[in-house]
Each structure stands twice: as C-alpha cells, then as structure tokens.
C-alpha cells in the first residue's frame, strides 16, 4: 500500500517537473536560438517568404501560446512533423529507437557484466599486480578519445581485415547483427574503463565491512562471501549507476551512429541540429526528460528489491 501511494505521488510530481522541463526547452528553442526560417527556405529566401513561414510555423504567436504548444506535445506525445524532413516525428522516433537500441542495449549489458566481473577480481586482488595492470589499462583506455577508437577499429577491423561492414544498417533480425557488432565492441571498450573503476570502488567499500570479516571468521568460502554477500550489498550504487544510464541508451551514441551510418536517434539528433529542426530537438528533449524521471522511479523500486531495509514512503 505504502509503495502504491509512493508511486502515485511520484507520478504526480511528474507534472511540475515536466512543466519545468518544457519551460527550459521553450526558453532554449523559442527565445535563445535564432530564427530557423532562413535555413529552411534556403539562400533565395525573401523577407516576405520568411515572414509567411514564421506565421505558418506559429513563431509569430504569443510566447505563452508557443509554450503551451510544447506542454501539450509533452503530455500528448504528439510532436507534429519535422520542419526539415516533413516526417511525423513520433514515427521518426519509433523508427530511430530500434536501430539505436539494437546497438546500445547488448553493448550496455555486456559492458556492465564484463566490468562487474573484472571489478570483483581486481577488488579481490587489490594492491596486487592484477589490480595495478587493470587499473592502468582502464586509465589508459579512458585517456584515448572515443573518435580514435572509432577511426582505428573502422580502418583496421572493417576496412583492412574485412571482418565487419564499414558502415550501414539493415532492419530486421538477424540482418542488423553484422552492422552492430563493431560499434557495440567499441562501446564496450569505451565503457569498461570508467565502469570497472566505479564498480571496483563500490566493491572495495563493501570488502572492508565488518560482516565480511565475520563471514571469513565463520569460515565461509571466498566465492560465497564475494558473490552472495559482497556483491548483493554493492548492488544499490551499482543499480543507481546502471539504471540511470538506461534513458541515455535511447538517445544512442551520436558519434558511433554517425560513423557507422546507423539510422538511430543519435543520427537524428545531429541532422536536426544541422538543420535547425527544432520540433525534433524539442521532442527528444521531452522524451529524454520523461525517461529520466521514469527510470529514477524504477531505481527507487529496485532498491526495495535488493535491500529489504529500504522502504518507499
């Protein structure tokens, strides 16, 4: 019952948060950035044509009405059509989410799993050679710009060795798989460094707890201590870290999607930025905010599952 009330209350909080998000979006797109009509009409645009288009796009309407439009679209999820491509934005998002998630989801879960395992090992061997080598590798890996990985792997593995397609994406299972392996691999490599370092710190915090010493004194095996007790107790920060990243998976990886010509949300963002396609940018900002709010709620709920002491109220 408590949980239900908690969720209802949190959902109600969505309303003011969403209104605030809409206000920021409105401020950014309708006030700060310039007039999009010259770009939409091209080099031969006349002032009269620009004025007509502004009228048509509703940019001459009172500011509060323009704000109301954003609020309306956030609550109805009807974002209208793109200014640049004239496509239905909701359809664009649906079409874009599939390629994006087909690449980011497996990459994300694999990188999280591998990082967690590696973190347990290095935490256990803390201060030893394994720990030193892994930490050094993580720092080295993080110091290299992501673009370097993309260019190197695309050149070496795709072009030189011919192991993967250089670019592209085919819809439908399993046709998309060859196209997502290389970008997913790069995603994993890029994520492992920061993930291992974070998970290692979390696990180390737990390893120094009294209950670990007690468990050792009771004669429990190291495997039992690590995987049954330490890992479970480390899960709260791990869940926070992991779940809060999930909404960003929908946004995709702009660089990876562009370099591998994956027609996902990341590519959509870049095209919309290049063409001042404000409705698309606004809709993605609204959806990201919504996803962040929902996933943070999900994080709270997951806490109660992994730690019975946590109560939602």
């Amino acid at each position: 019952m408590n949980n239900l009330i908690y969720f209802i209350r949190r959902f109600l909080y969505l309303i003011p948060v969403l209104l605030g998000v809409c206000l920021i979006i409105f401020f950014l797109f309708n006030i700060v950035v310039g007039d999009p009509t010259p770009l939409l009409l091209g080099k031969n645009a006349t002032i009269e044509q620009m004025e007509t288009l502004r009228e048509e796009l509703g940019l001459n309407r009172a500011l509060y009405l323009q704000y109301f439009d954003i609020v309306k679209s956030a609550f109805t999820l009807d974002f209208g059509r793109s200014w640049a491509t004239k496509q239905q934005i909701s359809q664009m998002i649906i079409n874009g989410v599939v390629p994006t998630l087909s690449m980011t989801l497996p990459a994300f879960f694999l990188s999280t799993f591998i990082s967690l395992i590696v973190a347990i090992v290095v935490a256990f061997y803390r201060g030893g050679k394994v720990d030193f080598v892994v930490r050094a590798a993580c720092i080295a890996g993080m110091s290299i710009p992501s673009l370097s990985y993309i260019l190197f792997f695309q050149y070496y593995l795709a072009y030189q060795e011919g192991l993967f397609p250089i670019q592209g994406y085919d819809y439908g299972f399993p046709h998309f798989i060859p196209f997502i392996i290389l970008p997913a691999l790069i995603w994993i490599i890029l994520s492992i460094g920061p993930d291992v370092r974070f998970f290692r710190t979390v696990i180390l915090d737990e390893l120094y707890q009294d209950y670990v010493r007690t468990a050792k004194a009771k004669g429990l095996s190291q495997v039992n201590i690590l995987f049954k007790h330490v890992l479970r107790n480390s899960l709260i920060p791990v869940i926070t870290y992991v779940v809060i990243q999930l909404p960003y998976l929908i946004l995709g990886a702009i660089l990876l999607e562009n370099f591998f010509s994956i027609p996902g949300i990341g590519s959509m963002i870049l095209s919309a930025l290049n063409s001042n396609d404000f409705p698309v940018l606004k809709s993605l900002a609204v959806i990201t905010s919504l996803a962040l709010i929902i996933f943070s709620l999900l994080t709270d709920f997951l806490y109660t599952l992994v730690d019975p002491r946590v109560k939602l109220s």
Binding site: T46, Q49, Q222, N258
Partner: protein, 599 residues
Amino acid sequence: MLANGEIGRVSMKASFLFVQVFFCLCVLFSCSKKLDLSQKVLYQRVKAEIKGFDPIHASDSYSAREVSKVYEGLFEYHYLKRPYTLAPNLADGMPHIADDGLTYTFKIRRGVYFHDNPCFENGQGRELTAEDFVYSIMRLADPKNSSPGWWVLDEKIKGLNEWRDLQKTAEMSDYNLSIEGLKALDKYTLQFILKRPFPQFLYSLAMQFTSVVPKEAVKKYKSEFINNPVGTGAYMTETFNALSNKIVYVANPKFREKFYPTEGSEGDEERGLLKAAGKRVPFIKKIVTYIMPEHSPAWLSFLKGEVDELEIPKDNFDQAIAPDKSVTNNLSQKGVEVEVENALDVTYFAFNHTNPLLQNLNLRRAMSLAINRDKLNELFYHGLGIKAQTPIPPGIKGYDESYKNKYTAYNIQEAKSLLEQAGYKDGKGLPEIAYDTISTTVYRQIAEFFVKEMAQIGVKVKPNFNTWPQLLKKIKTRQTQIHAISWVADYPDAENFLQLLYGPNSAPGANGSNFNDSIFNQKFSHVSLMQDSSERTKLYVQLAQEVAEKVPWILGVHRTNFRLKHGWIKNYKGTEFKHGIEQYWDIDLDKKKELIAKF
C-alpha cells in the same frame, strides 16, 4: 590461497564465457559487405539525410539529386555539352517564344507514362499530359505547401502570384481556377505567359522544383506523398524509408525511349564519352544510395569498392590527388580515375555599401589589394581554386580568361598608398571594421587569415562568428560591415551572378552587399532582358569587368570540384548539374570483377 585462486577462476570463467559468446557471434555474423557483381548496380554515397521525395521541397543539392532520379521536368542540361546547354526532356523540342518574349508555348512529349502505382486505376501509370504541368506548377505556388522553391517563379507568370494570394486565406486551395499565364492548350500543349521578359525562364524549367507530379498520387498519399514518389523518371524507388540510411532504386521498366546523346564537347570522343551515342538509356539496372554523414567511412567504402564514385573528403585530398592534379599512384593502380570540374561559384568578402565608411572606393581597393589570394587559395582550396577576377566563374558565358583585375593583385605598397588616399594613412583614424562569418572551423580560419592580411596595412578587423541563420539575418537586415560568403549558380547564366550587385535586389534581396551603382543598374537591367547571343556575352564581359574594378566585394576564388570514380564506371562526365545524370552512366561488369580482385 586456494580460495583466492577459486575466485579468480570463477570470475574469469564467467568473463571469458561471455567474451567467447560475443566473439562466436562476431564470427557467425561478421562479414564485409557483399557486392552484387551479377548485375549492373551503382553504389553511391550522399552525405546528408534526404528530405523526402517531393520535388517542391527538394531545396538542398542532396535531396534534389535523389528526387531527379525519379522525377523529370520539361528540360535538363545536355549531359555532354559545355558550356552548359539546355536540352528538352519532357518537352518535345524547344518552345516557341513569341516576339514579345513573353509567351512560351511547349509541346509535351507523347507516350510518357508515370510509374505504375496504386494511386492510378488498376495500378498502371497513366500518360503524362500538359495538365500535369499546370497542376505541378500550381502546387509549387500553393502557399499551403510552403515550398522553398517558390522564388523560381515568384512574380514571373501572369496571374500566378494573384492565385497564390487568393489561396493564402482560402480554407482549401482551388486548383480549378484558371490562371492567365499558365494553360494547357490541349492534351500535349502547354503555354506560359510571363509578366515581363525573363530570358532565364527556361532554366527554371530544368530545376527539380518544376518537375511534374501526378495529382492522383498527391490526392492518395496526402502528407505522405513525400514518402511515396511517383514520377516519370528513369528510376523508381524500390525501398525508401525517409529515416533509413539507404535508398534503393530500380530501372523503370516502362521508361520511354530515350537515347544517349550523339554529340558532345571537345575531347569527349577521345575520352570515350560518345561510345554509347544513340543507345537507349538507362544502362544501370539498380542504384543503391547510402546516406553516410561522415567522410571517413565514405572514403574507406570507396577504397573497398563499395561506393562507386565520391567527392574527395578534405582530409583525404592528399591521399587521392597528386600535385599535378592526377590521382596518386596508389589509387591509379586500382583503376581509380579523377574528374575535375570547375564549380560554378564565387567566394567573396562583401562590403555593406549602406555603411558610409565602406562607400570609400579607395579604402575598398586598398583592402582588396592587401589580400594574398595565392595564399588564400593554397591554405583553403588546396591551391586548386581559380582566383576570381570578376563575379562570373569559368564555364559561364561572360567569363573572360584573359582578363586580370588590377585590384585582385597582391600589392601591399599600392594598398598602403590607396589607404592614405582614402584618408587613413597606416590605418590611423580608421575605426575597427566588423567581419561577420559563420562559426565553422574553416570559416574561422579564413577570418584569422583576413584579420592578419588587413593588419599588414593597418586596417583593424574584428571577427564575429555566427550560426548560418544568424549571419543570414544580419545580411538581410543590413547589419554587417564585411561578411564572408559564396554564391553557387542556380542556373548557368551570368545574370545569376551579376544580379547579386543589382541595386533593386538589395537586402533583403540577393544583393546582400547593397551595392547600388546607377550605371551598373541601368546596364544590367538592359542586358539581363536580352536573349542569349554573342552580343549579350560581350556585354556581360564588359559589365563584369567594369563592376569588378569598383570593388563592390573583395573577390576570393572560384572553387574546383574533384570527384573520384572507379574504372568500371563508364560514360562518366563531371557536371555541376547532377539531376538525372545516372541514367547516362554504365558499368563494365567484367572490369569491375577484375579490379575488385585487386582490392
């Protein structure tokens, strides 16, 4: 110790298991792209998303090129002839132009059919008629369609603007209203009556905006017409999803009898460009267009033979082109060839002539002389641009190769002397001049270069970096002092460049520098109404040179385009007007197999 080993083993085992599964998947599914060598398939790259398949919205060059594979207009540019010449496409010959230069009467080609599509009865494409052009032109003018291509016919056709104004307030646009200057006289005869003489009118009819669309398709698909192309062109879309990264076209099986040109320009025969003369087009059965925003994968795909032709990415220029403008050894061994084409454009630094300071002719001339154009060319155009002497680029009648503008030379002494005559010896007393440009890396670098060059004569310049819409707004509202810009031809006529200096076209019109010289205006308004002739060309040459010496702009360069193509592509000729050119290309499959084996 044993326990430690146990942890290591369990953890490592799990990790390795997943890594193994992942790599098994890699081996199972990985492969480089398989090329179809069994039929003539052309693989192309386009670097920006395609804004749908509605000709009236295809305002950028990438969308226009894709649209032109499916749709056609009354005219096209002759594939081989240079300077660029119009050739009838859906028009059956050149039009009859009345003596007053206002009435254009066209015969429409008979036996042309729209692509088969469910929008037609029984799904069979129907025959094209003159009424289809009337409808398509009205669609372009319809304010409810907000076409960025409306400028092409704005204030040109009798009654069309009035019809447009009426529709602005109407709930539904009325396509049944008669327009005085736009009529189908019979099934195959189309007539335009212009408001005033406009000799460039025929060029408008070679633009994608005036391509013909069937009203049945617009009616059936409504707002989704943009995703359901139905044209008369050589190709039809097999798969098109506006949000995908790939468009696949197949040859139109009912394409009319259209033949490869039998005459070309000097040197075309030697280059083998007339071998296909008189043969029926198209030769290529399928086209796959990849949307690749980044240059690096496009370059690698080209090197791998997965893309057949490519504009050379800036970063790969030195890998592709040797100092003598030929392809490098590495590429020529793979059969790669280069096609060099002068761009029909001009880059310049425009003065705002409404600013009293910049009305000082000696100051403008001094600033122009302080620019080292060789260095500018070397730094930003690989040394391959052509230094502009007048606004008219090579390839357009009115360009005079022998002419050297004395104010485009690099002469610091002369510049200093002119600056002194302007009343600002060594720049003393001259206020800082604002220089507006866009904020991309190259334009920032050009701004730095400009500031440095001006500093040599004591002229202080403050660069302002803008987004493109910001810069455009400043230009249209006359807020700049100097701005860096370029102009690419809409059509191959000197009028399109000289109109940039015509007083009545001042901002918000195309004359962003607001240059307003009564003598130039008078001469321009006379010559721009003349039909193409040697006399008109002579006047264009004279006018361009006269105005260039008044230094309305600091002229930059005319750029050069370099495109690479693989040796198996036949009949390939570089052009600035790429609409529908793929129908003339061919693929030598045996050569492709042979060359691909070397990759």
